[in-house]
């Protein structure tokens, strides 16, 4: 019991998740239902996947604003390429080159961002702000402002399929969450990610090569953004050039709610999972209670600031910050 309490104190967002979970369960008859839980998991998987990568990048002391555009590019590539004439005789296997091209685009864009941040020393915020505009331009150039539809229903069937009792997309998300968690907590790269974000100078002096670690984390977030684009497009069986707009803001919100510091050096995947679920449960529950979507925006914004405020109050204790 005591253990659980200290754990909750370190991950206050899970306390909040528990709170709204109980609240919605009591106040709405449709909320507490296995089918609805599956819905929540599928709905959160898109933002969730990106948030996994964003956690790494933010622990590293950087940020990536281009994930929404990357998501749209991957989705468009995946759906367009599987419809190419070349692959007409491949049957359902035609999906494979499309998905691979989509994932590759994410990896390459991530690598490009990471490389620019590493080599030019320009702040990641600026680099990815530029990329957010530019990649969206690439999407529009590639798609010529068209939406694409997956002609092969196997593609959209994947988005609606299940593994045992759980939806495939939810399984995919949880699996990658586990992998990322292990990567962050059990590998040298993970440890160095914290070190670089916490104190870059000390990391350099300790012989850690800062650049490659940042590059790898940008590649990972690019990969996850592309993967999220593909899972999102399997849910719709289509892609639009405006897909994923403002997703970067939602993702950052989720990661910050999960306790990751913008200045780098601290944060966990478990916290991020809580942040993502908090947003998902809140949206789903308020939807079921027929609260207009407008109010969700206000409430989420308020919660974000409130969490920041509480966090500040808790961490300020004993530090004797200069008050003016």
């Amino acid at each position: 019991m005591n253990n659980a309490l200290t754990w909750l104190l370190r991950n206050p967002i899970w306390g909040f998740v528990l709170l709204i979970f109980v609240f919605f369960s009591v106040s709405n008859e449709f909320f507490f239902d296995p089918q609805n839980f599956k819905n929540i998991l599928v709905q959160t998987s898109t933002i969730g996947l990106i948030a996994l990568g964003m956690t790494l990048v933010m622990i590293n002391g950087n940020i990536d604003l281009s994930v929404g555009a990357t998501l749209a590019l991957a989705a468009s590539l995946a759906i367009d390429i599987q419809g190419w004439e070349v692959f007409a005789s491949w049957g359902s296997w035609a999906i494979l080159p499309g998905v691979l091209a989509g994932l590759l685009s994410g990896v390459l864009l991530g690598a490009l961002n990471g490389f620019i941040v590493w080599k030019t020393g320009v702040d990641a915020f600026i680099v990815t702000l530029g990329a957010m505009l530019g990649v969206r331009g690439l999407v529009f150039i590639y798609t010529q402002e068209q939406s694409f539809f997956a002609m092969n229903f196997a593609y959209s069937d994947f988005g609606a399929s299940s593994v045992g009792p759980l939806p495939t997309l939810a399984v995919l998300f949880l699996l990658f969450a586990l992998i990322t968690h292990l990567l962050l907590s059990r590998t040298v790269h993970g440890r160095n990610t914290y070190a670089v974000g916490g104190n870059r100078e000390a990391a350099v002096n300790a012989g850690i090569r800062v650049g490659p670690h940042m590059l790898i984390n940008f590649v990972i977030v690019g990969f996850f953004a592309a993967l999220a684009g593909i899972t999102l497009s399997t849910q719709m069986g289509a892609s639009t050039p405006n897909l994923g707009r403002e997703y970067e803001l939602w993702t950052i919100t989720a990661v910050v709610l999960g306790g990751t510091k913008l200045s780098g050096g601290s944060g966990t995947i478990i916290g991020t999972l809580g942040g993502v679920l908090a947003i998902g449960i809140l949206r789903n529950g308020m939807n079921l209670m027929q609260v207009p979507a407008f109010y969700v925006l206000v409430i989420l914004g308020t919660i974000l600031i409130a969490v920041l405020f509480l966090d500040k109050q808790l961490t300020r204790r004993g530090k004797g910050e200069l008050r003016t």
């Binding site: 080599k119 969206r136 529009f140 150039i141 200045s263 407008f294 925006l297 600031i305 920041l308 003016t324």
Partner: protein, 338 residues
């Protein structure tokens, strides 16, 4: 503050800067103006209509809305903070002023709208200035919250002004002052006023001081909280002015009209050479930065490219501009980090 670039280890930046070549330092200081000139010459060669007075006026008029907002955001950024809420705030203010116009007339509508916008700015200012919260997250939360407020206020409907011919409200977006379009006049006058405020008053110096070194500023007797608070009020006021131009130009408003503006505005500020670290920057250079964005858009359209090609070019221009700026300051092209 997100833009906190960690000091590059083992490299005494100040000595480097002094020994950097003269051409480099000239470029670092005036790079944005050189780029501006290059763009104008380039577009003038490829399009014969580009340099006509009419076209130049059109570009400046189109840039006025983002420009006015960018001037306000520049002040916030010089003070060492960010403001991402200006996009939602523009939606809010425009919907409010257009909706109130038919209920209480233009004059009162503008006053009420400005008061409401300043209240939003004050919330930003209280949270960032007095509560010392991270400005990126606070204004990100406000972005979401204000967008929600707009939708609640408008009930998801778009608003418009019924009698568009019979109101003097039209002068801000459609009118002319001495033959110059009013948005241009507002844009340039506002830029000049804020420039004077930032370069020639005690308040301006305080903003630079707080952005450059908050601790030193506090020890010098500057009330940091109050200065930051005021920068957010200025930013909100600028957004209110932009909303008047936009509302008057369109005579109506969609409820998400400002979506995405915060990042375009920031792009203009960054192109103008203002460091996201705070403590340096120049309002007039922000004007140039915003105009560069406008000229890229206009020039590419005149050359026959689709409108979205400008985003790609903007990407390259932003990174090159900031890279050269950073490189000139540290005296070498590539970052020394391993």
């Amino acid at each position: 503050m997100v833009a906190e670039t960690k000091p590059e280890a083992g490299r005494p930046a100040r000595i480097r800067r002094r020994t950097g070549s003269n051409a480099m330092s000239v470029f670092a200081k005036q790079g944005i103006l050189i780029a501006f000139a290059l763009f104008i010459v380039g577009f003038a060669i490829f399009s014969d209509r580009f340099l006509s007075a009419e076209n130049l006026m059109t570009v400046i008029r189109q840039s006025a809305i983002i420009g006015v907002m960018a001037i306000g955001v520049t002040v916030v950024v010089i003070g060492g903070n960010l403001d991402l809420s200006v996009g939602s705030m523009l939606s809010f203010s425009t919907v409010l002023v257009v909706d109130l116009h038919d209920q209480m007339g233009p004059g009162l509508a503008i006053l009420v709208m400005l008061a409401a916008t300043l209240c939003l700015g004050a919330v930003n200012g209280l949270l960032v200035g007095y509560a010392r919260l991270n400005s990126l997250i606070v204004t990100l939360g406000m972005l979401s919250a204000i967008q929600g407020l707009v939708l609640i206020y408008s009930g998801g409907q778009n608003v418009d002004i019924v009698n568009q011919e019979s109101t003097w409200f039209a002068i801000f977006g459609r009118g002319y002052v001495f033959g110059i379009a009013t948005p241009i006049v507002i844009f340039l006058v506002f830029a000049l006023l804020v420039h004077v405020l930032m370069s020639s008053t005690a308040f301006g110096r305080r903003v630079y001081a707080v952005g450059g070194n908050p601790t030193a500023a506090v020890f010098s007797g500057i009330r940091r909280s109050r200065v930051v608070f005021t920068t957010y009020l200025i930013s909100a006021f600028a957004t209110g002015c932009a909303a008047v131009i936009l509302g008057s130009r369109v005579m109506g408003s969609q409820n998400n009209v400002g979506q995405g503006y915060e990042l375009l505005v920031l792009a203009g500020v960054i192109l103008g050479g203002t460091s996201l670290l705070g403590g340096s920057g120049n309002v007039l250079k922000t004007v140039v930065g915003v105009l560069i964005l406008g000229f890229i858009q206009n020039g590419l359209l005149l050359m026959g490219f689709a409108y979205y090609v400008q985003w790609l070019v903007t990407w390259i221009v932003i990174i090159l501009a900031v890279w050269l700026d950073v490189a000139a300051k540290r005296g070498r092209l590539f970052s020394p980090i391993a």
